[in-house]
């Protein structure tokens, strides 16, 4: 390790630490406070963390990635910038209601989408080892229900029988089915299928018209979560982060595939903010992605599958805005397997901290019963103290 690298790393740690100090801690936070809420935005395809929150203070960034790094980034501090698509998120950052965790990942290094997605949703120790999801198991432990904003029930929420999903239908010639008919059909089924039809019967009462764009769904989720007996968790999926080609537009690094998808994420966060209203104060929203992308740009103005990425957090439950990281560096020898950003923070710890904050669950319980990793590091103080 060269001297300059050591220097840069130390500087960085200091930078991150000074951000901690800038935070305003919540006085008298106790576990018996009313529950908060937790919402997960799954970024499908593998988010390029180095483009979403570019480490502009790392000299290697421009040397290695100038052709895809956003030119008009918004500076967060001396070291990190923010992609210009994340306008609303930037406002939240300025108000102390958004944070980021950088150089982080689930402990999965094989770069397969489908194994990786299974890991980040299942929260198991290896791909396909779990039939339920970490959020579903957490809700089961806390005895509360959540809701997914999708036509299917994603793995992450499985594990609590009352978890439900929502995705408004639009079928010509059919209205909401009558509850008594659906109840009879439910009685003709067994086990999980009977449960599903029972949920449909329950839904027959509620008549809602919600557009299907992610921001409207998020606003709807926020509204129902804000209700007294509403779900305390929600999940929304945004695809399109597998930016192998044309991650940026030719000649405009602020535009392109990634810029478009990050705008969607920004809109989703804004939708939650709108929908949650006062409940925003106790809300925490976090992103989840299966892996980051290669440090190097590939031959098609994009990036291939990598390892470390960034997690975006937002919500009134955050005491201040921070970029939490233990920056590993970008030079070839600092890269994971000489190609990817190294992950120095286990993102399961971030998920655990959010669960601890939102659901009031004990960290050791989360570590052992939800993630099956009793020695999972606790990062709660770094985010919420």
């Amino acid at each position: 390790m060269s001297k300059s690298t050591v220097g840069r790393r130390n500087l960085l740690k200091a930078g991150a630490a000074s951000l901690f100090l800038a935070g305003v801690p919540i006085a008298g936070f106790t576990k018996d406070k009313p529950l908060g809420s937790i919402s997960v935005i799954i970024l499908e395809g593998g988010l390029d963390g180095l483009a979403a929150i570019p480490p502009i203070g790392d000299a290697d960034l421009m040397r290695m990635r100038q052709s895809i790094s956003p030119a008009s980034y918004l500076p967060l501090n001396d070291f990190f910038g923010l992609h210009p698509s994340l306008q609303f998120y930037a406002q939240l950052m300025a108000r102390g209601q958004a944070s980021a965790v950088h150089a982080t990942a689930f402990p999965y290094t094989k770069r397969s989408h489908f194994e990786g997605q299974n890991m980040i949703e299942g929260g198991g120790l290896s791909p396909f080892s779990e039939k339920t999801g970490w959020l579903g198991r957490a809700l089961e432990l806390a005895g509360v229900a959540g809701r997914s904003l999708s036509l299917d029930m994603p793995l992450i929420l499985r594990g609590h029988r009352d978890n439900d999903n929502f995705y408004p239908a639009s079928i010509r010639g059919s209205g909401r089915p009558p509850a008594d008919l659906v109840e009879m059909i439910a009685m003709g089924h067994q086990m999980d299928a009977a449960q599903m039809f029972t949920k449909v019967a329950r839904k027959s009462e509620e008549r809602v018209q919600v557009p299907r764009d992610p921001a409207s769904l998020a606003a709807y989720a926020g509204r129902v979560m804000a209700q007294t007996d509403g779900p305390v968790a929600s999940v929304i999926r945004v695809g399109g982060f597998d930016t192998h080609a044309n991650q940026v537009d030719e000649g405009d690094t602020d535009a392109g595939q990634l810029a478009r998808q990050l705008s969607v994420v920004d809109d989703v966060i804004a939708g939650y903010r709108r929908g949650l209203g006062k409940a925003w104060d106790d809300a925490i929203i976090l992103t989840l992605t299966e892996f980051g992308r290669t440090v190097a740009v590939n031959g098609t103005l994009g990036t291939d599958h990598g390892y470390g990425s960034v997690g975006l957090l937002a919500g009134g439950a955050l005491p201040s805005s921070r970029v939490v990281t233990n920056w590993p560096g970008l030079s070839k020898k600092d890269q994971f397997e000489r190609r990817d950003l190294l992950a120095t923070i286990d993102y399961r710890s971030v998920c655990a901290a959010c669960l601890e904050k939102a659901l009031g669950l004990d960290h050791d319980l989360i570590a052992s019963q939800i993630f099956h990793q009793p020695d999972l590091p606790r990062v709660f103080e770094h985010l919420f103290a």
């Binding site: 039939k131 079928i171 059919s174 008919l181 003709g188 089924h189 449909v200 031959g299 994009g302």
Partner: protein, 483 residues
């Protein structure tokens, strides 16, 4: 259910309401594997079943031309030129140059009217295995890939199908390979000398070729193997937007399928999972043949076939029997399929029916006219939705933008209240707007519905509509319980 319908539900799309039932089901399965596959449909609602006209089934060259034309008129629309920025011109451009809605409608119609129901189920399995998502620029190609790359190849070997679909422009575009160039290719070297020129490898297809299409991660390959495969693939495929002169220059011809750009290819021998692959155009066939007969491929796909047709959790013996058929037939697909169907027919437990398969089965059993004719595809109908809209609402379409691992065969992945609500609503809509020719009780009689199903239908009262919904959403018709 009686034997005919039990088997047709499992490996086919159900016999249509007016179709004679075969007596010898074993012979029927064999004849189905060899059945001719004309694209059947109807030109107008209530017209006689006929073959789709050739002009609605263009070849690849024509599809590429339409795509280029679409893009050119879009550009004029943006620039406000030649009157292209009017709503009428916009619609005409879509109608005349985009194939997605026509192809999807053809797919739906042949699933509703086709006499080759078993082959259509196999087509769905393989089209899902070789998923080509709709990234919009693939919209004009997906239908062609399904017809010519899957359905037309069902009676050959797996190796043929693998090579065909890997070199199809749909796959090469969906997984970015048309833009990939070897790092040491002539093109990349020339490009690196110019400012702002980008050229190099994109490993997307190389990775999924190993992970999803052949050996699966169980084979334990490395990043170097993935890179090796991507290097073999470098140079394959031409951007659909490429004009013909440029295309001739790049590949020496104008055929989009099997298009190989020598200047983009990585020179030299490559290595993939220990196998040396020669330089040049023949390298890809060498690679796909190697992968097609690999033990891990045979194991992975035999398991997948069993999960699709036999059981969510097939036994080791069941999988082994398919693997041995695979080896005995040297990858001959009808031999493999025959063994899978043998297991499917003998399976002791229910197999969940995919939403789209269920929809086709409901329409065929009831004789509903739930889809418009091909000549009415652009005409609004206040009762019948477009095929595109129907499959989108149902949550399963081969023309959706989705991930390359395709749709799950495991019933737990389809367990959601919203998904189940769609079944009820579509059964309702088909009953209301589809002018059904067979009622719930007539259908139950014909298929020999189980007692539990009859009890369920009886429990909802005398309304023909409620009975129809209850029947179609019964455990028996959804493939949830074997009764």
């Amino acid at each position: 259910m009686n034997e005919q319908f039990r088997i047709a539900q499992r490996i086919g799309l159900m016999f249509r309401y007016d179709q004679d039932l075969p007596q010898d089901m074993e012979a029927w399965v064999q004849s189905q594997l060899q059945a001719p596959s004309p694209a059947l449909g109807i030109p107008h609602a209530y017209a006689k079943v006929a073959q789709w006209p050739d002009e609605l089934q263009p070849n690849l060259a024509k599809r590429a031309y339409m795509w280029r034309r679409y893009r050119a008129l879009k550009k004029q629309e943006r620039e406000g030129k030649n009157g292209q920025d009017t709503e009428a011109a916009r619609q005409a451009n879509r109608r005349n140059h985009l194939m997605r809605e026509k192809d999807e409608h053809k797919f739906v119609q042949r699933n509703v009217y086709g006499a080759d129901q078993v082959k259509l189920r196999l087509t769905a399995f393989w089209a899902n295995h070789f998923t080509i998502g709709n990234t919009f620029d693939t919209g004009n190609m997906i239908g062609h890939a399904i017809d010519k790359g899957i359905l037309a190849k069902l009676n050959g070997s797996f190796a043929e199908m693998l090579y065909g679909i890997t070199t199809h422009p749909g796959m090469l575009t969906y997984l970015d390979n048309v833009w990939s160039a070897g790092e040491r290719s002539e093109h990349a070297k020339g490009c690196h000398r110019r400012p702002n020129c980008h050229a190099g490898l994109n490993d997307n297809l190389g990775r999924e070729l190993l992970e999803l299409h052949t050996v699966s991660p169980a084979a334990g390959y490395s990043e170097d193997d993935i890179r090796g495969a991507a290097n073999v693939l470098a140079g394959w495929g031409v951007d659909f937007q490429e004009e013909l002169p440029g295309m001739r220059k790049k590949i020496g011809g104008i055929n989009h399928w099997n298009a190989y750009k020598k200047r983009w290819a990585e020179p030299g021998t490559k290595k993939v999972m220990g196998q040396l692959i020669h330089a040049g155009r023949g390298g890809l066939r060498q690679l796909t043949d190697f992968l097609a007969s690999h033990d891990h491929t045979i194991n992975y796909i035999s398991t997948k076939l069993c999960q699709h047709f036999v059981s969510d959790n097939p036994s080791k013996d069941q999988i082994e029997s398919v693997k041995s058929a695979w080896r005995q037939g040297d990858g001959d697909l009808p031999t493999i399929h025959t063994q899978v169907f043998k297991l499917a027919i003998a399976a002791p437990e229910a197999k969940f029916v995919w939403p789209m398969t269920w929809l086709f089965q409901v329409v065929r059993l009831s004789g509903a006219t739930y889809f418009k004719g091909w000549e009415d595809i652009d005409n609004y109908n206040n009762q019948l939705m477009s095929s595109k809209k129907v499959l989108k609402e149902l949550g399963q379409s081969f023309w959706s933008l989705r991930q390359p691992n395709g749709y799950s065969d495991d019933r737990v992945d389809w367990m959601s209240a919203e998904m189940f609500e769609r079944r009820i609503r579509f059964a309702d809509a088909i009953h209301k707007n589809g002018n059904i020719r067979r009622s719930a009780s007539e259908i139950m009689h014909r298929i020999g519905a189980a007692k539990q199903t009859r009890n369920l239908v009886a429990s909802v009262g005398n309304s023909p509509r409620d009975q129809f919904i209850a029947l179609m959403c019964s455990p028996e018709l959804m493939g949830l319980e074997y009764v």
